[in-house]
Amino acid sequence: MLKNSFLCSSSRVSIASLTVVAMADEIILLDFWASHFGMRVRIALAEKGLKYEYREENLWNKSRLLLEMNPVHKKVPVLIHNGKPICESLMIVQYIDEVWKDKSPLLPSDPYQRAQARFWADYVDKKVPQLYHELGKKIWYTKGEEHEAGKKEFIECLKFFEGELGEKPYFGGENFGFEDVALVPLSCWFYTYESFGNFSVEDECPNLMAWAKRCGQKESVSSSLADPHKVHGFVMEMRKRLGID
């Protein structure tokens, strides 16, 4: 078996705190509570009914374990399965889907439909940094023209997703799947962007809002997404730290 040179030996992970029960899967998730990417993995784990240890990372003081398990990017989320790390949220979700393939499949079995699901998840991945760090940030961090421009473009992005969703219950069609997992964490930030941006996602994108609520009715999603009010509080804290409030 090919071994990644960046793997810690599993004995080091065991020393790091766990009692490994023979035959049971040992799953650890290194994550940050407000991370869009981390939420994707939580949803996938919940969909499969998997027990795991959640470890909260302080992104301003990353743990030695995180830096060892993801030396290339030093980011969350990282899934550690029986001592072996998997990084990059969409890859982790696909890994989870492939290992625990008998329950709640997230990707369709047909190769063409899988390709479409991957294409859309990839599209979401390209958009997410812009949505949060550029446009979203303009909404909660800036004023005046920059604020308005950020808000306008943010809403346009949402409208694009609204258009792609159409009348379908989920992005992939009748069933909750990979594309929904890729995007739905954004919905727990809606309240924050609506408050600072003074707009309503429901008014601008009624189908998208209905989709978010529909996803939110699933236990796997509601238990994985951050509390929207907590997210709002987090942004208020950031504004204070950055000297805006």
Binding site: N4, K84, E88, P111, Y112, A115, D122
Partner: protein
């Protein structure tokens, strides 16, 4: 591994690939299709005058490559590679083990998210800025070299998903020659250099490379005003 040419007994398959001759992305798809022995029609696109067909098949990004299989389009090179692997299952390019597959996807994405943008930046920059980017690329190449270790290819004994995605390095070597830069040398990267030689000597890969002189001219014309940095 030699490409096996297939004769399907069942209904004829119609496979089209929209690409451009110097595109690192569309050449990946050619390699994969040839490794699987899949007959396809290649359509060269003019990117300054995109065909209605391309715009119809990839309305979201309007980019090549697009694979159209029996009228159904697939876009984004790494997505297309996985589609090809799942549709034509012989000569697999991805590992079957989920962990190894996750690692292969990770490294292919690393190449596309880190190495490729840096390679474009290095061609477009000059002087001190270029030196900085060269150092960045060399760190990335070191990272990839550590992943390769003593394997013949990233995929093991034969070309795999990561090797195909790492055709980016071949384009980088063309750029360094065309623009007079020194980035990937045998001296600095003996292991990766060995891999590079095996890649460009591979029968299938070689067949899918842009003609060298044309490729060098193309890069010189496109990026040629940069000052060489050694």
């Amino acid at each position: 591994m030699a490409a096996i040419s297939l004769q399907t007994e069942t209904m004829a398959e119609e496979v089209k690939l929209f690409g451009t001759w110097a595109s690192v992305f569309s050449r990946r798809i050619e390699v994969a299709l040839k490794l699987k022995g899949v007959q396809f029609e290649y359509i060269e696109e003019n990117l300054s005058n995109k065909s209605p067909a391309l715009l119809k098949y990839n309305p979201v990004h309007k980019k090549i490559p697009v694979l159209v299989h029996n009228g159904k389009p697939v876009a984004e090179s790494l997505v297309i590679l996985e589609y090809i692997d799942e549709t034509w299952k012989h000569n697999p390019i991805l590992p079957t083990d989920p962990y190894e597959k996750a690692m292969a996807r990770f490294w292919a994405k690393y190449i596309d998210d880190k190495l490729l943008p840096a390679a474009i930046k290095v061609a477009m920059s000059k002087g001190e800025e270029q030196k900085g980017v060269i150092e960045e690329i060399q760190k990335q190449l070191k990272t990839l070299e550590s992943e390769l270790k003593e394997k013949k290819f990233f995929g093991g004994e034969s070309l795999g998903f990561v090797d195909i995605a790492a055709n980016t390095i071949v384009w980088l070597v063309v750029a360094q020659e065309a623009l007079g830069m020194e980035i990937l040398t045998e001296e600095k990267f003996p292991v990766l250099h060995g891999w590079y030689q095996r890649l460009v000597d591979d029968a299938v890969f070689k067949e899918c490379m842009p003609p060298r002189e044309q490729h060098l001219s193309f890069v010189k014309v496109r990026f040629g005003s940069s000052t060489p940095s050694k």
